[in-house]
Structures are given as C-alpha cells and as structure tokens.
Subunit: 316 residues, 2 copies
C-alpha cells in the first residue's frame, strides 16, 4: 500500500482527502498541517487516515505528495522537502498560480518529479470544516508539467485529478497564469473593490438591507482567504495588472455610453448578455482527452493509481 | 370580488401573479401584456386568472393596477392609463428606479393614487417561463410613496408586498435610487465589463474552459435584460455615475497596492472580507415594522387586502 501525503489540510487539501477516500483509493492517506488543530480536525472529519505532526514523518516513504497551501507557503515547503522525499516520489501542488511555483520547484527540487496542479473549484469559505468530497466533481483540474517532467509523473497527477472526480486539463504555466488572472483573480479584485466602495459609504446600513442576490453574487469572492489572494497577487502581478487594465478600459467605455445614453449602450449590454449565455451553455469540456494534444495517460500501465483506484464513470 | 390587474407578464409580473395565487387572494387576477404570446403563456402558467388582450378592458374596474415592465414602458403606460382607471384605483409599479417614475406619475396621473414599488428579487433569466411563486419570499420590497400619497394607497402596496411573501421597506425615491445604483446597477455594469473584457480576448475559448463558479457568480448579472438595464441607466444616470466613479477609485487603489506588493494589500483584502462576512451574517431585516418610522399598515381596517388575504406567518 503506497502512501499519499497531503500537506495543508484546509478547504482544498481536506476536500482532496475526502474525495480520494470516497473513491476508495487503496493507499494510505497521511496529512500534515503546520496548524496542529487543523490537522486534528481533518483527521476527525476523515479527510486523511491519520494526521502526522512532523513534516518529515508525514512524507516518509510517500509516492505522491500534494502541497495544498497558499502559493508562498509552497515555496517554503519545496525548500524543506528536498532532503526528505523518497526516491521516485511525485510532488504536486494546488496553488492558484503556476509560473513561480514551477520556477521554485526547478531551483529547489531539481532532481524531483514535480508537476503543478490547480483544481478549478473552490468556495469563499476556508478551512477543513468547509471541505466537501464532491468539491471537484466535474471540475477542470489544470495539470501544468515542466518541459522535462517524466511522463509517469504527469500521468500520476492527471490520475489524481480523475480520482477526485475532476477532468485533467493540460496547459503551460504562462497560459494558466494569464487565464486565471482574467477569470478568477480579476473577479476577486472586482468583488473586493465593490465591497470596499459600498461598505465604507455613509449609507451602507440602509444599502445593506436592500442588497439581494445580485449583490451577493457580485461580492461573494471578496470573502476569500486574504493570504491566498495576497500570494496570488505577489506571484501573478503582471498578468493581473494586464487584465485589470483591460477591465478598467471596458468599464470606462461603458461609462461613456451611460453618459451618451444612445442605442449603443443597449447593444453593448446585448453583446455581453449573449457572450454570457453562450458561456453558460457551452458544451461541457471533457478535459482535452477527446480531441486535445495530451496523451491518454489514464490508459498507461504501471503508475501509481492503476489498480488501486475505483474509477467511477465520468459525469455527463 | 375586487380586481387586481398586472400589466407586463414577464419574470416579475408573472411571479407576482403566482405568489398572489399561492396566497389564495380572494380577488380576480387579470393580466395584460403588449405581447399576446407572453400573455397567453402567463395564463397557461396560472400566473393570472385570465389574460385580456386590451389594456382598457384589462384594467376596467380594477382596484389595484401593478405595472411590471421596464422603466420607460412604465412612462408610456402611465400616459395611457389616465382616462381608463376606475375611481379609487391604486396604481403601483415594480421598476428598478423610482425618482423618474414618481415624477411621471405626478405629471401624467395627478389625480390617481400612485405608490412606487420595487421588490428586491430577480434572476438573470426573463419571461414568464422563469417566473416563480417563491421569488419574493423573504425579500425586501421597497415601497416608495410620493409625499402626498393617501395612507390607504400606501397600505395597499405594503400589503401587496406582504401578500407575495416579501417585507415592505419604506424609503424616499432619492434614497432608493442611490442605494440600488450601488448594490444593483453597479454590479450589473461590473459583470458586463468583465464579460466584455474576457469574451473579446483572443484566448477566450481556453479561458472559458477554465472558468468556474467564481466567474459564474461574477458574470451572472451580465445576462440580465438589456432593455431593462438601458432604461435603468437612462433614468438613474447620476447615481450610477457617482457609484461607478467611487468603484473605479477603489479599483485604482487596489491596483496601486498590487504594484506595491506590501502588507497593505492583505489588510485591504481582510477589511473587505470582514465587511462581506458581516453583511452575509447580518440580522434578517424585518422590513422596518419592528422599529422603523412607518406605521403598521397591515393592521388598518377597510383597505383592499384585509379579509381576502391569507396572511401567512412571516418567515423567521
């Protein structure tokens, strides 16, 4: 029975553990968290078979180590892991930016098979109490290998994605960081600016009483973990500023149309509405397995997950 | 049996009808829509007892007329209604801005008891097919009377709010328009600008595959009815520009902190997170009935709803 170790037992680490145990993976699931209370809570919730209070003991003999922490903590962990990893161990992470993480892995663990990961699922609540075994069901799971990654290591991380109910999606760190800046980091900053604007207004108490589902959705991401987002901004600054500036331009164009008050404003609304509806109705992505460039790793023999894994049918 | 007429049988008008019928209101519910197909669909869904194809016939003898159309159509209707209304009829609307509507009512229906209304509930889908009898359950329902409104007319609209499961909330048209600009119209423009920015990017197809629940929530309002929002911008321009500019300033401050990369960025995130969490956990508003300045209209005798109305206990 091979060991999988999850380092960082918050929302994502805890949900990965719960999803893996739901899949009846025949591996020992060990957890570590620098916060001993969080580690105990994860064990009580059944997110790991056992929580171990020492990082070295937790990853001792592990075939797969998953770092499920904010980005800057990943760097510290990569530095600490070097001397502790078993030969052949695959290391992955779940952090929200990938360029910096892959650079650190190349610097700090040059001889270790590291493959970046990022499940596109989350909630505005954090901590293992918010973890869910279904969090990744049907989600896209970005798999971001360095150019020289051993195919078996890539296959292992892709199988981890499938094992938790998600679809692996292969892309380069630069693509990943630009896309998530636009569709995830920018929306967080939008929500934060909205909450700053409204909650600091003199009339906030009255406004707050009227605010309904539109405000709820528009502001939801502002409740996200400040440390996670601080680290995201520190490691994806250029892409975030790029999209923030494009967004400010779009807002400025809308402002001009509101002032003008002509038919162009309605046309702009109509165009955005159609794009949003097309996105909502888009055919479900099946990772890129049907048509994309990535090999069908799942059919390879001999890597970590084969045999032990209860492969549920993909959801339609 | 008195008649209530709903003019405009879309999402809001249809949901009002369904909610009133759920409450087993002992009134005849008549519907009118300029679009005959929409009117028939509303009748088939049971949102009205019957749809009438002629506006005059639809409101003939009505004790309460509810205008549930986009703002600019309210103006046209107010102009058309004058000669058709029965003496003592109360007219209300459900439109998203109130200053212009009250001005038009004073100009076009000087002798009619008009009280503005705005239920703070909605969806990004429109049309009677999307209507729900529970749409207003627990929602705040803004009641915006002109200074000279007869108390019975105000009481009737407040009781309409209660009859559909909502809580009446009394405020002036200027307060209303400023608050909804901040917590509803601004979020719509934010979502529209986000969708414009991302969907016109070269990499949209790949981004769209990665976009998950964060993007879904941040962009949802962009799928709203373009005509409704065009009318909102036309009739609430100043308040919208005010809040749009405050929002752009807040975004600019965040941008500067992202560039700086210091601890202030995390502090700004933490502050917004706390404000968002406080809002989410705020005590449920009970309209203003417990403590506010408005009289308990529901206890008056003799007005339209008393007797006929199945008063369900308010939800806690």
């Amino acid at each position: 029975m091979a060991r999988i170790t999850i380092v960082g037992l918050g929302l994502i680490g805890g949900s990965l553990g719960l999803a893996l145990r739901r899949g009846q993976v025949e591996h020992e699931l060990v957890g570590y968290d620098a916060d001993a209370q969080a580690a105990r809570a994860a064990q009580r919730r059944g997110a790991v078979d056992r929580a171990v209070g020492d990082l070295g003991a937790a990853i001792d003999g592990a075939r797969l180590v998953v770092l499920a922490t904010p980005v800057l903590a990943v760097r510290e962990l990569l530095a600490a892991l070097g001397p502790l990893l078993a030969p052949g161990c695959v290391v992955t992470d779940t952090a929200s930016t990938k360029t910096a993480v892959l650079r650190w892995a190349a610097e700090l663990l040059p001889d270790v098979a590291f493959v970046g990961g990022h499940p596109m699922a989350g909630k505005e609540t954090s901590g293992v109490a918010a973890a869910e075994e279904t969090l990744f069901d049907g989600a896209i799971y970005c798999v971001v290998p360095p150019p020289d990654a051993p195919p078996e290591a890539v296959a292992t991380v892709a199988d981890l994605a499938r094992a938790v109910g998600a679809e692996p999606y292969f892309l380069s760190p630069e693509e990943h960081d630009s896309y998530v800046a636009a569709i995830s980091h920018l929306p967080f900053l939008m929500a934060t600016a909205l909450v700053s604007t409204t909650s600091q207004a003199k009339s906030w108490r009255d406004m707050a009483a009227l605010a309904a589902s539109g405000f709820r959705d528009a502001s939801r991401l502002a409740a996200g973990d400040p440390v996670m987002y601080r680290d995201i901004c520190a490691t994806n600054r250029e892409a975030i500023l790029h999209w923030l500036d494009r967004y400010a331009e779009a807002l400025g164009r809308l402002r001009a149309l509101v002032v003008e008050g002509g038919g162009e404003l309605e046309a702009a609304f109509e165009q955005a509405r159609k794009a949003r509806q097309d996105w909502e109705r888009r055919p479900r992505e099946r990772g890129q397995e049907a048509a994309g460039p990535a090999p069908r790793f799942g059919e390879r023999l001999g890597h970590l997950f084969l045999g032990g894994l209860d492969r549920r049918a993909p959801r339609s």
